[in-house]
């Protein structure tokens, strides 16, 4: 295996006596789609937050492209090329969809002072329009994002994460709360991004069908521990997993 | 469209000088009706209105009725200046107020520019030192009052040292600066110099410092509410030296608020409702009947201002602002001819006045005049 894009080494996070994440290690290779599953409270989101700098891990290390990322602040993490979405909806409600997309990428080029003199779309108009087309948001491109339906906002949210061409994207339950046909569309979109751009991502998901079809490899968390890891079929067949997951 | 309609109506409103006003004498009261100067401004305004009522009932000035308008400066000099402009724009014959020195210092530039006589209750020395021919006092300046009080401290109370507690605003700072100078001239030591804030509540520290200074007397120079609070604290901490003040602290409002604790305070008052003078007593009764409370010195100032204007206008013989201002220079007016003035008074060439004043003491919840001081010029 070549150098992994993301390497998580024995990561732990405890809140007092509660171990939210306990001794978790895994790696993500470039171009890979990794799913993370586990029952509620199994530590998936805490794991994400530790990697992304929202919380500081109690122990362990995170490396990105071979250099340490442990404890870096969220801004630094994003500047290093790691995008993310949140469990809850997070768009800029008062900006138009197109402006949301431009906002998502404009800070990755030039200096802050240069942006003061840059053209209004920061030279990102074409890229935003392409993303709008890919996510089929053309009809609402000029509407304030806050006025869109939940499913559409979710698409905007995900599109934003991909706008700056991140090396890695961490998606927290992208399919939650959207209708089944849109789920299917979303899977196709993500697969397309992976295929065409080699986009790498880690997906937390409750929708088993969605994640099993999308991911090339699946991690199973239970009570903060990494219970199993492997190709979707292998994991699905793992008796302990089925017990932990379905038994919960 | 909306903007333009609004703008147009604004033009109409701002430009609409009342046209029917030629037959009246227009008087503008620009006074403190809110903010820290409320008590002073309200009294002054009420005094003006009472006087206007009486003048109008007696046939007005040179046969013309007086029409008044009142504006609130919010005790804010910038607002006072703007309102003075407004009065000038509306062709004021004279402007009454503001009472606070900080405000009149700024607003009088406007009345001066337009040549409108401007009476003020302000006491800062600087007001009449700017060569403004249109500004006139209704009371002593601090430069007149403080020496009188300092004389009293030096020869009446025979003190060697004084603690000063003052309020840190233009009124308090001005008085404190003037007093410090006067005390130095009389070889009286300032043993403590304590600044307090407008609106201050807890005077424990200020009183403590005054006590620690161990001075022969305490000079308190605060606004009304704060004067009352410090008097309570002085009583509580058992301050046993003479407490002296200039005008404010012996005012009726302070006595009402401080109750018992005001007893024993003494000092100099330019004007007081309790003066041994039938005209002033009569004014006090009328004022109380009209407004249901006792006037303080600012009420007398406002009342006096209107009658001073009337006297000067009659002397000038015509409704001419410049002539009226001229008639108030180096001129004396007697109550025999102008009873509304309450006391014989002389204006000098700068707009300062000279007349009798009083040494008073608060006894049994009332201001009692101990001695009447003659006008400076008679000395």
């Amino acid at each position: 295996m070549t150098q992994p894009l993301l390497a998580v080494d024995r990561l732990s996070k405890s809140y007092g006596a509660i171990r939210a994440v306990h001794d978790v290690s895994f790696a993500v290779a470039p171009g890979e789609i990794v799913g993370v599953i586990g029952p509620n409270g199994s530590g998936k989101t805490t794991l994400f937050n530790c990697i992304l700098g929202q919380t500081v891990p109690s122990a362990g290390a995170v490396r990105f492209r071979g250099t340490p990322l442990t404890g870096a602040a969220p801004l630094a993490v994003s500047r290093r090329g790691i995008g993310r979405t949140f469990q809850s909806l997070q768009v800029f409600g008062s900006l138009t969809v197109r402006d949301n997309l431009i906002a998502a990428a404009q800070e990755f080029q030039g200096s802050m002072a240069a942006r003061l003199l840059a053209p209004s779309d920061a030279g990102l108009g074409a890229r935003a329009d392409a993303m709008i087309e890919r996510f089929r948001l053309g009809r609402v491109a000029r509407h304030p994002a806050g006025s869109l339906s939940y499913g559409q906002q979710k698409l905007v949210d995900i599109a934003m994460a991909f706008m700056p061409d991140p090396a890695l994207v961490l998606l927290d339950e992208p399919a939650a709360g959207i209708n089944p046909s849109l789920v299917e569309e979303l899977r196709a979109l993500l697969e397309g991004l992976n295929r065409e751009r080699g986009a790498t991502f880690v997906v937390i998901e409750h929708n088993m069908d969605f994640v099993m079809r999308l991911a090339q490899r699946v991690l199973v968390l239970a009570e903060g521990r990494l219970l199993a890891e492997g190709a979707p079929e292998t994991v699905r067949a793992h008796p302990e997993v089925m017990e932990a997951y379905l038994g919960a | 469209m909306r903007t333009r309609a609004y703008a147009a109506s604004l033009v109409l409103a701002l430009a609409a000088a009342p046209a029917a006003a030629q037959q009246t004498v227009k008087l503008f009261s620009i006074v403190e009706l809110s903010g820290p100067g409320t008590t002073a401004g309200t009294n002054f305004k009420n005094g003006v209105e009472l006087a206007v009522k009486e003048v109008n009932a007696a046939g007005g000035i040179l046969g013309r009725r007086i029409a008044t308008e009142t504006y609130d400066t919010q005790t804010n000099p910038q607002t006072a200046k703007a309102l003075a402009q407004k009065a000038v724009d509306s062709e004021a014959f004279a402007v009454m107020g503001p009472v606070f020195s900080g405000s009149i210092m700024v607003s009088m530039a406007e009345t001066r520019r337009a040549g409108v006589p401007n009476f003020t209750g302000g006491e800062a020395a600087g007001i009449t030192l700017q060569g403004n021919p249109y500004v006139f006092r209704t009371s002593f300046s601090q430069a007149t009052g403080m020496p009188k009080l300092a004389n009293y401290l030096a020869s009446g109370l025979k003190v060697k040292s004084v603690a000063i507690v003052w309020v840190n605003n233009d009124f308090g700072k001005g008085g404190r600066d003037q007093m410090t100078k006067e005390l130095a001239a009389r070889n009286i030591k300032v043993a403590a110099d304590v600044s307090t804030d407008q609106g201050q509540v807890d005077f424990a520290a200020a009183v403590l410092r005054a006590k620690q200074a161990n001075a022969d007397a305490l000079f308190v120079y605060l606004n009304e509410d704060e004067s009352a609070r410090i008097l309570r604290e002085l009583r509580k901490q058992g301050y046993d030296r003479p407490i002296v003040g200039e005008t404010t602290i012996m005012g009726q409002k302070v006595i009402d608020l401080a109750g018992e604790a005001a007893n024993g305070v003494r000092g100099h008052v330019g004007l007081t409702i309790d003066a041994p003078n039938p005209a002033i007593r009569a004014f006090g009764a009328k004022f109380e009947k009209e407004y249901n409370y006792k006037s303080d010195h600012n009420g007398i100032k406002g009342y006096f201002a209107v009658f001073a204007l009337k006297a000067a206008t009659e002397k000038a013989g015509k409704l001419d602002r410049k002539a009226v201002a001229q008639a108030l220079k180096n001129a004396c007016y007697k109550t025999a001819e102008h009873p509304g003035l309450l006391m014989d008074v002389c204006f000098d060439d700068k707009g300062d006045i000279d007349r009798e004043s009083f040494l008073v003491e608060v006894k049994g919840g009332k201001q009692v005049v101990v001695e009447t001081l003659p006008p400076l010029s008679k000395r």
Partner: protein
Amino acid sequence: MADLVQLLVSGCATGAVYALAAMGFVLLWQTSGTINFAQGEFVMLPAFAMLAGLALGLPLPLAFLASLVVAALVLGAAFKRVVVDPLVRAGVLPLVVATLGLSLAAKHAVRVGFSAEAQPFPQIFPEGVWNVLGVRVSAADVGTLLVAGALLAALHLFITRTLFGRSMQACAQNPDAARVLGIDVAGMILATFVINALLAACAALLVTPVWFARFDMGEAIGLKAFFAAIIGGFNQMRGALLGGILLGVLENLAAAYLSAQYKDGVALALFVLVILFRPEGLLGRAEERKV
């Protein structure tokens, strides 16, 4: 030494009143995330309600009771229904602005409708002054401290020892869990608003004899209560107590020993330092960063 004690006693009496108002701040913040910038007016209004009662010929105790009722209804229930409820989900800042508007309206309504001048108010404690080892202590100081202390202690007992109080606390800490436990969350929040109004009315009774009833008397007390709450800890009742007393005492000490001109600056410097280095307040718990 006696001088220092003199300042401490006086500062504590003043600070106890700040603490009463600050306590209300903390209660509202804990249960509903409301920062009430009209807190000072919540003290001013009952003072005028009492004056109105006195003017109608009621004796002071009755006027006070009436003002308690009015405060509970208007400053408690109505305030919550009309101003807070519609905004509680919009976050902290809209409520800050709305209560600023309320403060402005209340102040000037009293100014125009009643009077702009300070009104005398009857003394509630006897006039006596004792000399204790060179320290002059007035009945008013002792009374204010005792009453404020008793109120705060009662409130503390009420919240920690009674079922009702503990339910209130549960709502403050975790409304969802409280709801699951069958606690009437809305009712509990309403209760804190009423308690805040009652505390403010009590503060009014204590301060008005000294501060005098004046339309803008709330400006100082509201700001001081706010500073006290932040300094002590915005999410801690004990913090409000500490903050209030600290503020009252510091002002006096600063005026006596440092600079009378900057006496407010000392408390303010402490306030800014707390915000910078210990935003949870001297006694507060750190609030977890929310994602």
